[in-house]
Amino acid sequence: MTTQTSGSDPLDSEIAARLERLAARKAAPALNRGGGSTVSMAYEPKDVSASGSNGVRNGRRHAAKRARIAALAASLLTTGSLTFGLFAADGQSNRVLVGAAGVVVVPSASPPVTALPPVSASPPVTAAAPTVVDGDAFRNPYGDVQVEATFSPDGALLDVSMLRFPNSNRESVQINQYATPRLNSEALSAQSAQVDTISGATYTSNDYERSLQSAIDLARADGITQLA
């Protein structure tokens, strides 16, 4: 008898201690809820005993919900402030030409000359090498862009590239390959590709800066005519 009781005593106390810890654990969220909100004390024991496990799950669901809302709110807030922030930052210098003012003609065959005096009197029609004309840098929502047009010695427009700063991605368009297969019936030889102007619906100044017409205007500003 004594051995039985003495043997069960430490076990019992351990079980009691575990139960106590369990009770403490269960009570903790309930207490937190009581302290955090204005729930009256009368409901508290009912929460713990009758629907204790439900109460815990509810607490967790709230935490998840709060985290979700916080993530969504932070994302939307960041998007909004970034959109306006980027616009404001660019707006300071919007439309201000970033590069050197004026158009500079650099013969592409010669060693890299940084800036020849702007050619204004006569177009370089006698030069054997193609002529590269760099436009002024301008700013668009994605960064600073510069148009670069290449002309053949006889003045025909060969290629228009857009240089993108700061990593100088080059968006190049071979304008000799005019017609797509879908417009094959209208295919033109490279010879007839010389144009003086472009007809098409340009809606905004931003669209204009990316258009072929702006490259033609660049060349004209330098005294180059398409028909040499």
């Binding site: 993530a71 960041t78 998007t79 970034l82 960064g143 993108r164 990593n167 991605n169 809606y203």
Partner: protein
């Protein structure tokens, strides 16, 4: 309007990147064995899923804004087929990363893929997708010059590689302990 769409494209892109990195880190640190399975509350995993879904939504907004921006040159074909945009590679990375994200999210939600091995392999492509996202951000180059971008880029790269490292080492540990 087009100008606003341009700035919206940039901001949603930045936010989507932050969300993808956050979801990745949440996945690595809080679902992995390093923190101990028992201590992992359900809402942490829930937040990982939420961040992943939110990242995809902001990715969608980013694409939508680029599409609505008439000066971007991004149309339906450029959105769907990598390499068709004027800036072929920079945009292609973004397109590929989007496909990766879509597959990762929709093999986990609304129903998780049954075969655990397949699911895990597909889920880990999110690491590659994140790398592509950074490549996309770097090569399109609108915010490369920004100091905040550089700091964020280095921090994200460091955290992501740390996360990958933690994952790899825990897998390695698991194998040695089994043997």
């Amino acid at each position: 309007m087009s100008i606003w769409m341009g700035y919206l494209t940039r901001s949603t892109g930045i936010v989507a990147t932050i969300l993808v990195v956050a979801a990745l880190l949440w996945g690595f640190f809080f679902s992995s064995r390093t923190t101990g399975t028992r201590l992992r509350p359900a809402w942490w995993l829930d937040l990982h899923n939420w961040l992943g879904g939110l990242a995809l939504i902001f990715c969608g907004l980013h694409i939508l804004a680029a599409w609505l921006d008439t000066s971007s040159g991004i149309g339906l074909i450029q959105i769907l087929v990598p390499g068709t945009a004027v800036q072929a590679w920079p945009i292609a990375w973004g397109v590929i990363a989007t496909y990766g994200l879509v597959v990762v999210v929709f093999t986990s939600w609304p129903r998780r893929l049954r075969r655990r091995l397949w699911w895990r392999i597909i889920h880990l492509t999110s690491v590659a997708a994140t790398a592509f996202i950074f490549l996309h951000a770097y090569q399109t180059g609108s915010d490369v010059g920004n100091l905040a971008f550089r700091v964020g880029f280095i921090a994200a790269a460091w955290l992501a590689s740390y996360g990958v490292g933690v994952r790899v080492f825990t897998i390695a540990d698991g194998r040695t302990s089994k043997v």
